[in-house]
């Protein structure tokens, strides 16, 4: 059983724990309960970095809630939509080249990885997970040859799994960089019909910019 003084120390230290963006956002939107708000208020009194983050967030929320859309804004957006082809033609959902399957293996893998990165869903809610973790992202190449998924583990770490039935990929080395984390992995045979590899993203790295990802052949 935990000693009372240890628990009390933990309680005291809670106010020193930095706030993440979702907590700050929930506080701004008045979505936190009394104890959650109390912790935010106690922490920002101590930490000018989180205090500043809160100020910036309030500035953004005020801009959104007090929005006045002018005719110039409408014209600006319409011209942008024309320029970019609107939202439907976003590169992340473009179709693969018809010849992709015929490309040499190395080039095909590079193409798979490029599309995988384009489809990376970068933001994951920091919520509690079940015993087995929870899949928060998954992707499969158009030809079904390569799959990837991200699992949020119970301890809030994340694991990204890669697998393929393309046995020639056995031994292929890939560098995964996610914000400040950079890790080289090797696809290895795990059964007669599958090669696989995985990357562990510890919680402390997950606090970084999860949109900043690159996956490249070494």
């Amino acid at each position: 059983m935990m000693k009372t003084d240890e628990l009390e120390n933990e309680l005291r230290k809670l106010k020193f724990t930095h706030l993440n963006e979702s907590e700050l956002e929930a506080y701004c939107n008045q979505e936190l309960d009394q104890i959650g708000s109390g912790r935010v208020e106690a922490h920002v009194k101590l930490c000018f970095i989180c205090e500043r983050q809160l100020e910036l967030l309030r500035e953004e929320n005020a801009a959104l809630s007090q929005r006045v859309i002018t005719t110039e804004d409408v014209a600006f957006v319409e011209s942008l939509m024309k320029q970019t082809g609107g939202l439907v033609e976003e590169p992340s959902i473009e179709k693969p080249a018809a010849t992709a399957r015929e490309l040499p293996l190395q080039e095909r893998l590079a193409e798979y990885l490029r599309r995988m990165v384009l489809n990376w869903q970068a933001e994951f809610a920091q919520v509690r997970r079940g015993d087995q973790g929870e899949e928060v992202w998954s992707w499969q190449s158009e030809d079904g040859k390569l799959q990837a998924s991200a699992i949020m583990e119970k301890n809030a770490d994340m694991t990204i799994h890669f697998s393929s039935n393309e046995m020639e990929l056995d031994g292929a080395r890939v560098n995964v960089r996610l914000d400040k984390l950079s890790q080289e992995i090797t696809l290895q045979r795990v059964s007669e019909s599958e090669v696989a590899a995985q990357v562990a993203v510890p919680w402390e790295y997950r606090q970084g910019n999860m949109a900043d990802i690159s996956i490249e052949i070494v």
Partner: protein, 229 residues
């Protein structure tokens, strides 16, 4: 997400062009505020930055999936900042310079925590690093541009005492357990542990007797301990 936002996302899901335009217009003020923030730091023309930022917003809208339960605003900021950052050398060099200042501030803060045995104020750090508080705030703002989403605890967790920071699962459990306490218990916990008030001060604030305050605090600790077993 507000109901308005959810309706817009629903229309966007149906590939309704007018709905898509409304969605971009809905979030355009966010691009404006971010572009103006960078313009303030760099001296660049905010209207130029707005153009790049809005393209980032369009990409974010195309890639966002509301079913994941994340907040679009935080998601979009990465793209808006990223688009501005990528398109402007002046922004990149400013962000790098400011980030160096930010790191210096972070190191000084950690040193002062050790010396003072408490968190230093921004003024104390400004004096130590010979910068103005405005310059430090600029560095914090710029750091958010160069490395959006990175949180200070991951980066500035002092290597000498990493175990002092609770793991997130533990923090979440503790916050969950705290949320189960009744309002008076929560108030007493907050005042006693986070606002460093004495039992006497809490007594005056809540109009309870001192023995009651002590009893309620101990009962709350008991409940927490039971829940965290």
């Amino acid at each position: 997400m507000t109901e308005d936002e959810l309706n817009l996302w629903e229309r966007h899901g149906q590939r309704d062009e007018a709905g898509q335009r409304e969605l971009i217009l809905f979030y355009l003020p966010l691009v404006d505020v971010l572009a103006k923030r960078i313009a303030r730091l760099t001296g660049a023309d905010w209207q130029d930055l707005r153009q790049d930022g809005a393209i980032g917003l369009i990409k974010a809208i195309a890639r966002f999936d509301p079913r994941h339960g994340a907040q679009f605003r935080s998601f979009a900021k990465h793209y808006v900042y990223g688009a501005i950052f990528e398109s402007s050398e002046i922004t990149r060099s400013m962000a790098r310079r400011q980030y160096e200042i930010y790191r210096k501030v972070g190191r000084t803060r950690d040193e002062l925590i050790q010396t003072l045995q408490r968190h230093p104020t921004i003024e104390e750090i400004a004096e130590k690093v010979k910068l103005t508080t405005g310059q430090i705030r600029n560095a914090i703002d710029a750091r958010d541009i160069a490395f959006p989403g990175a949180m200070p605890d991951a980066e500035h967790m002092p290597a000498s005492r990493p175990l002092e920071w609770p793991r997130p699962e533990r923090t979440l459990s503790l916050l969950d357990a705290l949320a189960q306490l009744n309002e008076t218990e929560q108030t007493i916990i907050r005042l006693y542990y986070w606002e460093d008030q004495s039992h006497e001060e809490i007594t005056q604030r809540l109009g309870l007797t001192i023995s009651n305050v002590i009893k309620i605090r101990q009962r709350a600790i008991g409940k927490l301990r039971k829940r965290l077993k």
